[in-house]
């Protein structure tokens, strides 16, 4: 029906073009044009103060970059942060989704509580955690010392080996509701009969999880894991507000390195080159993501 309608009305008309023009203009000016500029800037030695005097220097930025230990450190940090935050977020999301995917008293209220972390502005989440992780009066230190995880309160954000775990902690607290909602939607598409059949075969709870639940979530899992990794590669606000990339560059992901290089060290040409590398990495993941979605939609 839709196709007949479309054939009857759209062809001679330019209406769809007109409707899309405003969106196309806005997105071109604020998203596409800067991206193109950014890629170009990567070939210039531009600094913030001499924006118009930047010279074309070919691949020089990229040569510097390949020999830059901070770049390689940043790449390592990005992968570490991506995998750690994705795993923790996924694990929390799946555990809570399994807990919520049953008939519970007060299910609506409990579901809302589990979504609350996602609702809070990132900056607020960061401030709460900076306060809770405070070296002197932080309540998390108190709990950890009481529970025996720590001998004494730790300065989480000042120690290179503790800053990343702290960042992963806040990331997974803030982001797990997305995983929870996606997994909950996935769990609800698994037909009840499959569980009943498994129970008739004498499968226990764990075996049902392995043989029914996990396979049932397969396509949802792929999409979710890609989204979580892509988001962690692109994340700026949370890391910037929490640590700014420090201490000692322990949390300086490629996104943060790009920003710091541009606005702290004022080398926007070099920053653009780093950003372009990040763009290429994201592009590879995006293509995988894109084809997964097409695949999933075709199966659905």
């Amino acid at each position: 029906m839709k196709r007949v309608f479309a054939r009857r009305f759209d062809h001679p008309e330019l209406l769809p073009l007109w409707l899309l023009t405003p969106a196309a203009i806005v997105m071109s000016v604020i998203l596409i044009w800067p991206i193109a500029q950014g890629i170009l800037l990567g070939f210039f030695n531009t600094r913030i103060l001499n924006y118009n005097a930047g010279r074309y220097i070919g691949l020089a930025n990229y040569e510097v970059l390949l020999a830059d230990p901070f770049f390689w450190n940043s790449l390592k940090v990005t992968v570490y942060y991506g995998i750690a935050s994705m795993s923790c977020t996924y694990a929390l999301g799946l555990s809570f989704a399994l807990l919520l995917n049953r008939s519970l008293p007060l299910r609506g209220i409990i579901r809302t509580i589990f979504i609350l972390p996602w609702a809070v502005p990132e900056v607020v989440a960061v401030l709460i955690f900076i306060w809770m992780l405070d070296a002197q009066y932080g309540v998390i230190n108190y709990f950890f010392v009481e529970a025996g995880f720590l001998d004494a309160p730790a300065a989480w954000l000042a120690q290179a080996d503790l800053a990343m775990p702290a960042l992963v902690l806040i990331t997974s607290w803030h982001q797990f509701p997305l995983a929870l909602l996606i997994l909950l939607a996935g769990l609800q598409t698994i037909p009840r009969e499959e569980y009943e059949a498994a129970m008739v075969d004498g499968a226990g709870a764990f075996s049902r999880f392995i043989h029914v639940t996990l396979p049932g979530l397969r396509s949802v899992n792929v999409i979710l894991i890609l989204i979580l990794i892509l988001n962690s590669f692109r994340r700026v606000t949370m890391i910037y507000a929490m640590t700014g990339g420090g201490p000692a560059r322990a949390t300086e992901t490629l996104s943060i390195l790009t920003y710091n290089t541009a606005f702290t060290y004022q080398k926007i040409g070099y920053a653009a080159a780093i950003g372009t590398v990040l763009l290429l990495i994201l592009l590879v993941f995006s293509l995988v993501y894109f084809f997964t979605i097409i695949h999933v939609k075709r199966d659905a």
């Binding site: 009305f9 209406l15 997105m27 950014g38 609350l116 900056v123 909602l181």
Partner: protein, 278 residues
């Protein structure tokens, strides 16, 4: 123990576990609120988990002695402008994507999907320069335009989803009754899509409200600070005023949380481009 009591026990244990997890998840919220309400006993060790002397001092202070009111005003302006701007553009784009199948709309759909995955940090470097050159730097309108562009792909995609649920027969009937194609859209279809429209308005409002990164980069003067930027300044400017900072955080978070809970069930299908139904 009969199997039935066993099942009940397991259910009860799982329910207790669920409540326990909910408690842990909620704790940062609780701690934010508690910290904002007790100035005197904030710096004690061990920390007082239940407040003893509750006071609203911090809330009074931030509105009288800090710039919170200015931040609130600027943020409300930016969020509203972002929302209006984004929604106006998204309804047209979303309608085109929902009702027409041409090369243009297909390319645009793919483009929307990709644009959600672009690194903000690479965009913002040239954007900073562009804003400086065009005079949009340090202007709240400029910030709202940038915010709107960043949320536009998701908003357009959500809007398309809402239009998809309205049968095309509605327009066909309207056109048989003498409406033009455009008239059918604005007069008949758009009112039917009102619930979706409200979601997009709220979602773009939250984005403009919460946004920190662009505001940090594109706004320079203190009188133009939005809430998120002002809030992080507490850290450096008033090093130990945690009660005030948490009070400001509560004031800032409240509208965002409220609107967010309303839109969250539509976000999942939007963020996964419809591959996962929310």
């Amino acid at each position: 123990m009969s199997p039935r009591t066993g099942t009940i026990l397991i259910s009860a244990a799982l329910f207790a576990l669920t409540l326990g997890c909910a408690g842990i998840v909620f704790f940062p919220y609780y701690w934010m609120i508690v910290s904002s309400l007790e100035a005197a006993s904030l710096f004690e060790w061990p920390p007082r988990l239940v407040p003893s002397n509750v006071t609203m001092d911090a809330y009074v202070k931030i509105f009288t002695e800090r710039d919170v009111f200015t931040w609130f005003k600027n943020t409300a302006f930016v969020a509203s402008a972002t929302s209006i701007f984004c929604t106006l553009v998204a309804i047209n784009g979303g309608y085109a994507l929902s009702r027409f199948r041409t090369g243009g709309t297909t390319a645009f759909s793919i483009f929307i999907l990709f644009s959600q995955l672009l690194p903000a940090t690479l965009i913002v470097v040239p954007l900073y320069v562009i804003f400086r050159q065009t005079g949009l730097y340090n202007s709240l309108i400029g910030l709202a335009i940038a915010d709107a562009a960043f949320v536009l792909p998701l908003a357009t995609w959500l809007m398309k989803g809402f239009f998809d649920r309205i049968p095309v027969e509605v327009e066909e009937q309207a056109m048989v009754d003498g409406c033009t194609r455009v008239g059918a859209f604005y007069r008949i279809v758009l009112p039917l899509a009102l619930p979706g429209l409200v979601v997009v308005v709220a979602m773009s409002f939250i984005t403009g409200w919460d946004e920190f990164f662009l505001a940090r980069t594109l706004i320079s003067s203190q009188s133009n600070w939005v809430f998120s930027v002002g809030l992080t300044s507490f850290e450096t400017q008033y090093a130990i005023a945690w009660d005030e900072m948490m009070a400001a955080a509560v004031v800032f978070a409240l509208p965002a949380v409220f609107f967010f809970l309303f839109v969250q069930r539509y976000l999942v299908s939007g963020l996964t481009s419809g591959a996962v139904k929310g």
